[in-house]
Amino acid sequence: MNEAVPVPAGERPVVLSARGIAKSYKVGGSRLEVLRGVDLEVREGEVLAILGKSGCGKSTLLHVLGWLDRADAGEVHYEGKDRNRLTAAERARLRNRLMGFVFQFYHLMPELSALENVLLPTMIRDGRAAWRSGRAASVERARSLLAMVGLEARTHHRPAQLSGGERQRVAIARALQNEPRFLLCDEPTGNLDARTAEEVRALLWDLNRRQGQTMVIVTHDERLAAEAHRAVRLVDGRVEPGA
């Protein structure tokens, strides 16, 4: 079990917890065990960094926490219930409403404008009728998110017309569009130069400080980890406390 690192905000309630998570992949004829019983707790309003070598299973753990992937064994509890065993459709619904993913390579839809990319999670959430009635409010929220990340002038630009830092900021706005409970970031600064990485880092801290956004960040970036409320390290498929 990892021990909670004391944070200035004091002891906060656990909102997402993983117990005994195991995950293996078939590689050729043999099985590669990536996660071997990971225990992890995410507390309300904290920034939790997950560190580890390349290929140690950090991203896999993030996907399991975000119900994008299903653990072979173990439980992922949210609001007192194990959500790891839900059907794919139920997990998709939860993911859409509770999780915001930010990826290393932004993963924006190239044929959509920045605004449309940000609106996509709401389009997925709403049926035709709900989308029509809530459209104005959804667009308004997307615009304000783009303004918050400093891209109000680029709402109609396609990803190809944006720089790497701008694309990552659009991706962050997209992750926030449905007001997620958790922001799950997979190497958010991994593909950016030092200055742009600094901007994105500042944006993430700002989000946490002002809105109390709970974040789990998988990173190589030692500075990002040092600034996190808490950091854990994945070694041999298990969590080691501290960083």
Binding site: R97, F103, E111, L120, I124
Partner: protein, 449 residues
């Protein structure tokens, strides 16, 4: 909401979709054009094949034949849907002519042309024709005889010369006169010139002494051409001379005053029902629709059309394969986006639906464009034909098909069926790539380079 949005966006941003849309469009346009030409062709061929057959033919099956007027009246009153009844007799004849290809003149150089004398009650024929045209029918194309020239505009058999020289008046067909006298039926002067001239034909008369055996006697007779007519079928017309029924009975020494009653009904759709009613009521009469009499030929034409449609449907199938190929390409290209959609909360069903909609949109657009192109083609077939003719390519030789323009029939049920079929093919073609997209593992998709 995102399904339609992304399906439309993928459609608009992938030029490769244009190939699929083009494929479906072409298939639909070709099928619409070909079926409309085949339907038009079938209708025309039916008219040609039908010639001067009436809707129904009523023939006696017993040797003792009652008076035509009596039977005609009985048949006429048997069913209110019957518009008119006209009696007819036929008798074999021979036209002996000099074959110019043989040169020298001798008896052996004469050629024989076998003909049929057809005896009609012109007053009845004219009344039926009038009623048919008044109901919006197309006159001679529906089994009547069109008079091209006659001495008397009311009674085409009226001929002062025939009366004077006591000969029997006949109506000769335009195609007969063209073949044997080089007549150009489009020239009114030539038509007028042929009126009141003599025509020698050999009749074949059956002699039967009371109690004795029947013998055949030939008789060379001179008739007077009182008028020129055109029926529906040139080949049949050529071998047919029209008489007043009473004249022909006398000339050919016929023992029965009528061979057939020509029956017209209000609407040919009712012919089968009327036929069944008459057959039940008159067991001594044989009743056939004109289609019964030409059944084999009509079946052949229909089979030809069905075969052609089956062969051409492969174009639409090809369009389907294009959709399959391009959508598969798009799914591969979009693999990472599919992973992202899953991360954002899209379900497998939602992802399936995006690509199904894409295929369906391609099908709908292709079918709609194909409908427009098909309509333009069908409306301009004759212009296209003329264009090819100016280039020296004869697409539709009139001397083979007996009509000048390419006949077309626009049938909405057929067009609807073609469009629905194409959209269905497009939908099914999209199913495979869509299933493939839905089955992608989101994690593997996200890592896809």
């Amino acid at each position: 909401m995102y399904r339609s949005f992304l399906a439309t966006r993928y459609l608009l941003t992938r030029p490769v979709n244009l190939i699929s849309i083009g494929g479906v469009m072409l298939g639909v346009a070709v099928l619409i054009t070909v079926t409309s030409v085949m339907d038009g062709f079938q209708e025309r061929v039916r008219a040609v094949v039908r010639g001067n057959l009436s809707h129904l033919s009523v023939m006696p099956v017993t040797r003792e034949v009652p008076e035509a007027a009596l039977v005609a009246a009985q048949v006429q009153h048997a069913d209110p849907r019957i518009m008119g009844v006209a009696a007819m007799v036929t008798a074999p004849m021979v036209y002996v002519y000099h074959d110019r290809r043989r040169g020298a003149l001798s008896v052996l150089d004469k050629s024989l042309f076998i003909m049929t004398g057809v005896g009609l009650d012109w007053a009845d024929e004219a009344r039926i024709e009038q009623a048919r045209v008044a109901r919006g029918g197309r006159g001679a194309a529906e089994g009547g005889f069109r008079i091209l020239a006659s001495v008397d505009p009311v009674d085409p058999f009226a001929s002062p010369r025939a009366q004077r020289v006591e000969r029997v008046p006949v109506l000769a067909s335009a195609s007969f006169l063209r073949t044997f006298r080089g007549l150009d039926a489009t020239d009114p002067a030539q038509l007028r010139a042929v009126l009141e001239t003599d025509l020698q034909v050999t009749t074949i008369v059956e002699d039967r002494e009371p109690g004795g055996e029947a013998t055949i006697r030939r008789e060379d007779r001179n008739f007077v051409i009182a008028g020129v007519y055109a029926g529906g079928d040139q080949a049949e017309d050529r071998a047919r001379l029209l008489f007043r029924r009473a004249d022909l009975v006398g000339v050919a020494g016929l023992r029965t005053p009528w061979h057939e009653l020509r029956v017209w009904v209000e609407d040919y759709e009712q012919a089968a029902a009327v036929k069944a009613g008459l057959a039940a009521r008159f067991p001594d009469l044989s009743i056939e629709t004109w289609e019964d009499q030409r059944a084999d030929f009509l079946r052949a034409v229909k089979t030809e059309k069905v075969l052609l449609v089956i062969v051409l449907s492969f174009i639409v199938l090809l369009g389907g394969f294009t959709i399959l190929a391009t959508l598969t390409l798009i799914v591969v290209e979009k693999t990472r986006d599919i992973g992202v959609l899953a991360a954002l909360g899209a379900t497998r069903g939602g992802i399936l639906s995006i690509f199904l909609r894409n295929g369906l949109l391609v099908g709908l657009l292709g079918a709609a464009l194909g409908l427009c192109l098909g309509a333009v083609l069908v409306a301009n077939l004759d212009n296209i034909k003329r264009f090819f003719e100016t280039q020296g390519v004869k697409l539709f030789p009139a001397d083979i098909y007996l009509f000048n323009e390419i006949p077309t029939v626009w049938s909405w049920p057929t067009v609807g069926l073609i469009m629905a079929g194409s959209v269905l093919v497009a939908f099914l073609a999209g199913l495979l790539p869509a299933l493939r997209a839905a089955r992608l593992d989101p994690i593997a998709a996200l890592r896809h380079e």
